[in-house]
Symmetry: C2
Subunit: 344 residues, 2 copies
């Protein structure tokens, strides 16, 4: 038809050899196809008042025939568009990430934000991903790790919210504080008669994690002599391997506090394969409060993170950052909570 060849030709109607990728129809294409002006098209497409039923029908028909979709850029330029949050995680396959993402996505939706999800765990792609993300969102939040260093020089004024980062960071952030929950757990372990507790940390021997240190201290303060053990990585498999060795000793531990729930699952698995009953022979606890901890048998005692609370703080910070209204504090803290289940 004349209309469609004009559409594709864009000023060059008779251009021979239809292009492989046809240009997308614009509001002007629809307008001319329907024989109306562009703002009549706007009215029809956006379901606005001030348009006759018949005209609307005709316009929508033309729009449909041309597979017209309003450009989000054209529209966003004039309306401002929705706010966009970029959520960066280090490994979507670790169940921790999805549980956080779920909370953030829900909370964001309630506040009218969209969230773009990025996994920078991929080898080498992190730099490219962050670059493309920072061009598309209003605020970036997540576990940036080393990428937070030198942020301004690389990504200019893109606001950044760090999750569980170093306390000395200059960026906005939401931190996690396990100390109170660790005290509660230590109390509990003592109350049930624990004698030989082991703290199973993930990091390298020379960089014991904060929670590992805190747990050691809490147990020592209660008169126990906990042993500190390191897995070479924080995976269930490594935790399982280390546990298998430990429980084979002449005097095995009667409690293992794992760096996180995933590692605690590995501990549980090693205990089962060794024929040990949890919690009768040995008690096990993790950190994070992942949903799966309630699905395994025995159910896992844990220091749970309130992901919803983290998400709430994150969105509050995101709003301040977007609007440039720093408010009072750009750093928040969320405490872990002891959740006692079967394993301890």
């Amino acid at each position: 038809m004349a209309g469609s060849s004009q559409l594709n030709g864009a000023g060059d109607p008779g251009s021979p050899g239809s292009p492989a990728t046809r240009r997308r129809a614009t509001i002007l294409d629809v307008a001319s196809a329907a024989g109306v002006s562009r703002q009549t098209v706007t009215r029809a497409v956006n379901d606005m008042a001030g348009i006759s039923v018949e005209t609307k029908r005709r316009v929508l028909e033309a729009a449909n025939a041309l597979s017209y979709r309003p450009s989000r850029f054209g529209r966003g330029l004039v309306t401002g568009g929705d706010s966009q949050l970029g959520l960066v995680v280090s490994d979507l396959r670790n169940p921790y990430s999805p549980e956080l993402a779920a909370a953030v996505v829900r909370c964001a939706a309630a506040e009218g934000w969209s969230v773009s999800l990025v996994d920078i765990g991929l080898a080498g792609a992190a730099d490219r991903l962050l670059h493309s993300l920072h061009a598309q969102v209003d605020v970036i939040v997540g576990y940036l790790g080393e990428w937070a260093r030198g942020w301004e020089s690389r990504f200019g004024a893109t606001p950044l919210i760090l999750l569980d980062a170093d306390a000395d960071s200059r960026h906005a952030g939401v931190n996690l504080d396990p100390s109170a929950a660790i005290e509660d757990l230590a109390d509990h372990l003592v109350a049930v008669g624990t004698r030989r507790p082991v703290v199973l940390d993930a990091s390298e021997p020379h960089a014991t994690s904060g929670r590992g240190i805190a747990m050691m201290a809490a147990l020592e303060r209660r008169g126990l002599s906990p042993e500190l053990v390191h897995a070479s990585a924080s995976t269930p498999e490594h935790a399982s391997a280390v546990t298998a060795q430990i429980i084979r000793r002449a005097t095995p531990p009667d409690a293992i506090f794992a760096f996180n729930d995933l590692m605690a699952l590995g501990v549980l698995s090693a205990c089962r394969h060794a024929g040990l009953d949890v919690p009768r022979d040995i008690r096990v606890a993790g950190v994070d409060g992942l949903t799966i901890g309630a699905l395994v048998a025995p159910t896992l005692t844990t220091l749970a993170v309130d992901f919803d609370e983290v998400a709430r703080h994150t969105l509050e910070l995101a709003v301040s950052l977007r609007d440039g209204t720093p408010g009072l504090g750009l750093r928040r803290t969320v405490s872990h909570r002891l959740v006692l289940r079967e394993s301890a």
Copy 2:
């Protein structure tokens, strides 16, 4: 000049009645602050050639002082912008969703797409969420359920890719086919001497799921008389409750095939609490191939979905749909694969 210097409170702290939400600085604000033209600002900000070091420094300084961030709309309008995929899941807390999302996010990133994640499981918010999503992405993919009905009339030409939808759907989609894996599992169960298998389905009695029907048929074809049982919902808890009843019988089953891995976890839990050993006393299998299945003890035998393959197909379809090049087929099928582990 007067306007722009007032606008940025930065150089004009004492502006009376400073507005709650300050207008964001534009490229023109930076240009005038740095005393250059707008395209010189573009050159500096986008790290382009053809600008002196000194000018660039001055511009970036001004940009920084004004917290300037290029508008993604202004930029997208002229560059076209990245492609955006909208991923819709029904419940991010069900581990199935994140595993799918992880694969899609990774695959999309490799193809240069961004993905916006939306959870429509939220009560009542689905309609609003889909509306805002469809204005922001190029293609929508996911588990739409009832929302796929009447899509065109509500969301016009927004391309849609349905995951695991009815075969009679007119939309593009990626379907799952468990039939071959079900045969493999049936073979295995027979080979290890299963006598009294139970198929634990999730749906209501009058709407047995496709995989439930297929498993029943596969077992019957091998001379067994499987029993079909329904949980009132597909949660681990319901599965656990039903299992507890069944295994209490005089002649309990020696194998349970659960609708999905989550329910299989519930089965495992009920067995453990009843003192049954899996797989010695009873065999258990699920469907989905979730990561957690490999972390529990005993590890879970399952009919695994290759999420990466689903993601690959999804992105191929997304590209065709975005470009309006339908290619040969807009429907793909991915087969489950039997993964034998300890539980069966």
